[in-house]
Point group: C2
Chain length 311, copies 2
Amino acid sequence: MKVVMGVDIGGTDIKFGKFSNQKLILKEKIKTNKSDDGTHIMDEVYQKVDEMVGIDELVAIGIGIPGPVVDGTALGAHNLRWTKARNIRQEVYDHYQGRVVCTVLNDANAATLGEMEFGGGKGYRDFVFITIGTGIGGGIIINHHLIEGSTGSCGEVGHLRVETGNIRRCNCGLYDCVEQYASATGIVKTAIELRRGRETDLHKLDIITAKDVFDLAKAGDDVAMEVVYEMVDKLSTALSQIATVINPEAFVIGGGVSSAGEFLIHYLRKRFKELAFYSVRDVKFELAKLGNDAGIYGNEYYASLELENKH
Amino acid sequence: MKVVMGVDIGGTDIKFGKFSNQKLILKEKIKTNKSDDGTHIMDEVYQKVDEMVGIDELVAIGIGIPGPVVDGTALGAHNLRWTKARNIRQEVYDHYQGRVVCTVLNDANAATLGEMEFGGGKGYRDFVFITIGTGIGGGIIINHHLIEGSTGSCGEVGHLRVETGNIRRCNCGLYDCVEQYASATGIVKTAIELRRGRETDLHKLDIITAKDVFDLAKAGDDVAMEVVYEMVDKLSTALSQIATVINPEAFVIGGGVSSAGEFLIHYLRKRFKELAFYSVRDVKFELAKLGNDAGIYGNEYYASLELENKH
């Protein structure tokens, strides 16, 4: 049986999906071994892939990397401790002596393609996928194609500036990037600021999580609701910037924070309409559907597409 | 001789270019007749086109409209007093009994294509054209193709929000759009604010223009220079938002204000580098080259492309 592998290399773990006829038939996960500057990662990928492929025939492999990618080359991936550019496509090609088609994608872009083909972006020709977790990432689909950008950095939407006062410093060195306000980390930061001197159940928590904030807001805690409003205001500001630039049909919202679900989407839709330019205001909001599997789906899809193009 | 016409319909005048083998051989201009809700405009276009074509054979016509366009239909054009959607492509097709290929583009998008093929964008695969005049508009080229957006409003970059204090109201109904700060109008507004109580030659002017501000700044007037810095800061903020979303290779700066030339580009490039996310920071800045002719060139190019595709 001919099979295609989708591999999603993350800073914490590596997810593997084995596909036959675009159907996921086996799914596994290993810890990411970042020792020795991440030099063992690709060997462990090959080992797991071979084990999962077994007696089947591997025809294509799609790999996702947490960092910018241009033409099969990962320019660098801090979370894997890869500091130099690596031509992963060539490495995989060499490893399998040219018998296997390989594609390489940035992780958020892979998830975007997964959501396009099998998830919340299905049926849209132009949409932007936004993944909100510890940070904020994204990917852009135009005319049913992923756009990757001149240096592989399209859709770095977590670093849109949404304040002008240089209030919160971002890990990237800039100030007031939207992920400092609207990511899980940003929400917690705001909660800690806003609960000071206020009557709120947020004080009952030793460690606040974004989920706690949404749960308390849903339960009617006013201060938690203010935290949600602040998150929504900043995220909508970024979304309105995106819409003004590329005028998409839809936003597909994923990542851990999107588990707040329709509650979040409701306020987001409302605030976005207030902030967006009139001719780009009519945007649909969808929840992502594939969760943590979006990456393996997207990498498989992209590798399958490349396989088709070669035949 | 087979000829293609490029027509750029603006709120003040309509520009016509007659092309043979992609070469401009005749150029004319008429005033835009906006009486009776702009109902005479297309008739006057046909009249002028026929006059300029003369004994030659018109094979294609590309038309630019100051408003959003989707699939040949102008959704509305306030500057022409067109309040309803009009399928211009069909109208032209019917007028010439189906003998002439017609394309319709938003005016900024047409100028973008003109600059791509014959101007400052030549040689770039991905770039954003920014035109700075009374307002600010733009167009986006990705992979050597124009992207128009789901409702024909890609590149409405004049309405990127660059302040969060609701300081200057924009004509669009929102606050703090970049064109309120970095357009010719915005620059003058800033100059009037900043000259108060200051020692500056800006007081010698009854009516300030953007050109005056740049001329005084170049001549060493400190307050005029502050006005330039403020314009550059706001425009760079918008450009960094664009770069974060679509990671272009280059910005091509056109429109009346771009006649400030390298002086403007120098400060823009510097401030942009400070504000942009590290992986999208390496962007080239170019001056547009076609001036007011960009539209006729772009419309001709697009119509010629469509003609090729039909054969």
